[in-house]
Symmetry: C2
Subunit: 177 residues, 2 copies
């Protein structure tokens, strides 16, 4: 989507939220941030997004306080983008959207999310509650692994790293492939 101006007249917190994350690509950038993507180039190859659009989205997500730009090496100067509290609070939205997409438009399950710290093999429920231990699992304790419908041989290196089980938010390590 585009201009916040038009939504501003809506008097509605859904409209307000969409002003921030409703533009094309924005929610996919945030999703990737949950999956551990942090660097400009990794977003670029994983999403297949035009460079200018990615730069613009990272910019507005940063100024809106969803992502935080953080220097991780001095020379050459390199920054990574990580989710803030405000960004982490988007997980229920992304999860709900993903479940809706899976239930209604996807044949096979592409990713499985489960509770990392309790040893269960069953998938998390609708609101991230663990079917075994019953607690609501915090994002950082969610383990993501490929589902039966996942492509076993994806083209880009980021997707290949994601074939291995990993926790949400845990940074992508490209060298490990």
């Amino acid at each position: 989507m585009a201009l916040g101006k038009d939504y501003a007249s809506q008097e509605c917190s859904i409209a307000r939220a969409l002003e921030i994350v409703g533009e094309r690509w924005t929610l996919l950038v945030v999703r990737d941030a949950f999956y551990g993507v942090r660097r400009y180039n990794d977003f670029l190859v994983h999403l297949g997004i035009p460079r200018a659009v990615l730069a613009a989205r990272l910019q507005t997500l940063t100024t809106e306080g969803v992502l935080e730009k953080r220097r991780y090496q001095q020379s050459p100067p390199r920054d990574e983008y990580v989710l803030t509290e405000r960004g982490l609070a988007l997980w229920p939205t992304l999860r709900a959207l993903g479940l809706w997409g899976r239930d209604h438009f996807t044949d096979a399950q592409l990713r499985v999310f489960r509770h990392a710290t309790c040893g269960t093999e069953r998938e998390l429920g609708r609101y991230d509650e663990c079917p075994d231990c019953g607690t609501v699992v915090p994002v950082s304790d969610v383990e993501m692994l490929p589902g039966p419908g996942a492509d076993p041989n994806p083209a880009d290196p980021i997707s290949r790293v994601m074939l291995k089980p990993k926790r949400l938010l845990e940074p992508i390590e490209l060298e490990s492939v």
Copy 2:
């Protein structure tokens, strides 16, 4: 957002979902459908959306099975758009998005949602569970009323109808104003 083509390569149910409901205005149309809006003209005045865009969105939402076009009078032929099962399943997403927007970008609460059938005055929790009777409230039992931050004198007639408490999905009756 725009073209589904680009997201198709994403192998992800979130991307798949965004192909359907990720375009500009689409989620606001669906939100209005939950609020009881059903007719072309009511969407038009309540959203302030360009006519051509509204026609396009209703068209794709209908062909994707989120809305259903239903003849409600023969002469002149008039149709209304109502949520299908698939559309109703979007409520958790909209609710999560609205809570995020309210928690992070809105000062005052604009709308309150609570359990209609148990007489509570407390608001529904994060996952539509009732704080009094403890059950997860189905969408049709959710009562919507204006919150303390709502504009008491809105310009368009649809918003004025929404100042009165009403259940979600219950059709808007314009004559009642």
